[in-house]
């Protein structure tokens, strides 16, 4: 079995105060025994651009701000598809607290809201017994909850071998993750969603609005917005009480 994958891409990225545009194309040839990746002629003739960064002033220390917008044409054997990606990574700090925000859109108003609450953060506290988790925080935790909670693969898009991604509720995960033509694809569940029969989120419960560290298993350190108070807390995921359609989770 010999599989040929080609990618023609263009990406514009902002990091470290520099805007870099990269245009490239490459081919990966994979057999059970080997993986060979080489550049090839061609490019995605696409317009990629970033939003004006004048708006990205969060009035708080910004340790890291990375934005990217990419367009790629993928070919796998006789399947061809196009993909557009946007990524926003921000690391904001207040005292010794670091909030890490990863979004798949340039949602600066959301970052500004988190920055505003982070500025008011006080000392670490014990996690509340019930807490809602913002969708972008929940997305970061979901991979670590597979096997313990009802975490499914939602349908949508194509995987690293051009196959349509269908809804899958349990292993074996049939799809392939390929972040670059230079990396051998691996099987992995994609489009993760938590599943619960309940969709009601308690709007009055404290809310986890940002990650403070990468999750460690089912334990995650988050910034908790409890209305009048904002504080860091370490949450251990024991029970998912509800999942709203947008991905917000209610933990008990």
């Amino acid at each position: 079995m010999r599989e040929v994958y080609r990618k023609f891409g263009r990406v514009v990225r902002y990091e470290q105060g520099v805007t870099i545009t990269v245009t490239e194309a490459g081919e990966a040839i994979e057999t059970p025994e080997s993986f060979i990746a080489t550049p090839i002629q061609g490019a995605a003739d696409a317009l990629v651009r970033l939003p004006r960064l004048g708006a990205a002033v969060f009035n708080i220390a910004c340790e890291r701000l990375v934005l990217s917008h990419g367009v790629a044409i993928h070919q796998f054997n006789d399947i061809e598809w196009t993909e557009e990606t946007k990524r926003l990574h921000v690391s904001l700090t207040h005292g010794r607290i670091r909030a890490i925000i990863d979004l798949d859109d340039f949602d600066f108003p959301l970052v500004e809201r988190i920055a505003q609450r982070l500025r008011e953060a006080k000392e670490e506290r014990e996690a509340p017994s019930r807490i809602s988790v913002a969708p972008h925080v929940a997305r970061a935790i979901l991979p670590n909850l597979i096997g313990t909670f009802e975490i499914h693969q939602a349908a949508g898009g194509r995987d690293g071998k051009g196959q349509l991604i269908e809804r899958v509720t349990q292993p074996p995960w049939p799809n392939w993750y390929r972040p670059s033509y230079r990396v051998r694809p691996i099987r992995k569940p994609l489009n993760l969603v938590a599943v619960s029969p309940n969709t009601g989120i308690d709007e009055n419960a404290p809310r986890a609005i940002a990650l403070l560290e990468p999750p460690d298993g089912r334990t995650v350190r988050v910034l908790v917005d409890a209305g009048s108070d904002v504080y860091p807390a370490t949450v251990h995921v024991r029970r998912i009480d509800a999942v709203a359609p947008g991905g917000e989770m209610m933990l008990g």
Partner: protein
């Protein structure tokens, strides 16, 4: 405007069989706060990589996981080459091809547990500790802490120009950040990074081991980190007389814990330094050093 061109060939070998192979090449045109990069072909650089790779292949150990990387870059019309070979056995890696030495280190049986005892950093491993505690702290402009007067930690670039065409300059990392801007490839933004860390000392005497409990001897380090926000230094020890363990201390405590050093700097087999997702090999040399 600076032009940076690079090419790299890398291969992954498992038990003497090549299982992965990659070629990469491209050119980046720097214009202040913008860079325009594409995967343009530079025949001379690719040929240089192929030549280096042929030499690296001869060093591949037959019963290990081995990654070989040959790269070449052109800045200010000067071609600079770099070759790296990483040998992994049992999940522990060295930068180098000496699989026999790696096996010897892996055979070291733990005789104690890590309970905060003094540490003798053998095999040049203190270079990793000070790479994190002094080198990365300098890159981030951390506030000065008091280091022993007998200690010297310098970055001494082994190439004439950095990746932005500036003359590469040796610096005292205890006083200033590295001089060189480096990038992993044409796709990356240049960052101020270490190149080749030399730890030296003028310590007149070896610390009196009789006043301490039995120290832990460290031979290989799996990784390390410096957090500029908390000023914490983390070292994940892979091979020691206390087995694998993690040391995490504030930078000032690391500085205060340095108790002495002995001998000439030894080449530590390996630092692949990752920052902002860009992996670069950094030369590492240090004498045997003691922390209490």
């Amino acid at each position: 405007m600076t032009t940076f061109a690079n090419a790299s060939r890398d291969e992954l070998w498992l038990d003497g069989v090549r299982i992965e192979s990659r070629l990469s090449h491209g050119i980046a045109h720097d214009g202040g706060d913008t860079i325009v990069a594409s995967d343009d072909y530079d025949e001379e650089l690719v040929r240089a990589c192929e030549e280096s790779l042929a030499e690296l292949r001869r060093l591949v150990a037959p019963d290990a996981r081995v990654r070989v990387v040959a790269s070449a870059r052109r800045v200010r019309d000067v071609v600079m080459r770099e070759s790296t070979i990483t040998t992994t056995i049992g999940g522990v890696s060295i930068v180098g091809s000496d699989a026999a030495s790696l096996r010897q280190w892996l055979a070291i049986e733990p005789t104690t547990e890590w309970r905060g005892q003094p540490i003798v950093w053998r095999n040049g491993s203190a270079a990793v500790l000070l790479h994190e505690a002094i080198g990365h702290a300098a890159e981030h402009g951390a506030v000065p802490v008091e280091w022993p007067s007998w200690l010297s930690v310098r970055d001494e670039p082994p190439f004439p120009y950095d990746d932005c065409g500036n003359e590469a300059r040796a610096v005292d990392l205890m006083r200033e950040p590295p001089s060189c801007l480096r990038r992993e490839s044409f796709r990356d933004v240049p960052l101020r990074r270490m190149t080749n860390v030399w730890v030296r000392h003028s310590c007149p005497t070896w610390p009196d081991e009789n006043v301490w409990p039995t120290p832990v001897e460290v031979f290989l380090v799996a990784g390390g980190a410096y957090d500029p926000l908390t000023d914490l230094v983390t070292i994940d020890v892979a091979v020691s007389t206390a087995g694998a363990f993690t040391l995490r201390k504030p930078r000032a405590e690391i500085a205060a814990s340095l108790a002495g050093a002995i001998g000439e700097p030894l080449h530590y087999p390996g630092v692949i330094c990752s920052r902002e997702g860009q992996e670069l090999a950094v030369g590492s040399f240090a004498p045997v050093l003691v922390t209490r």
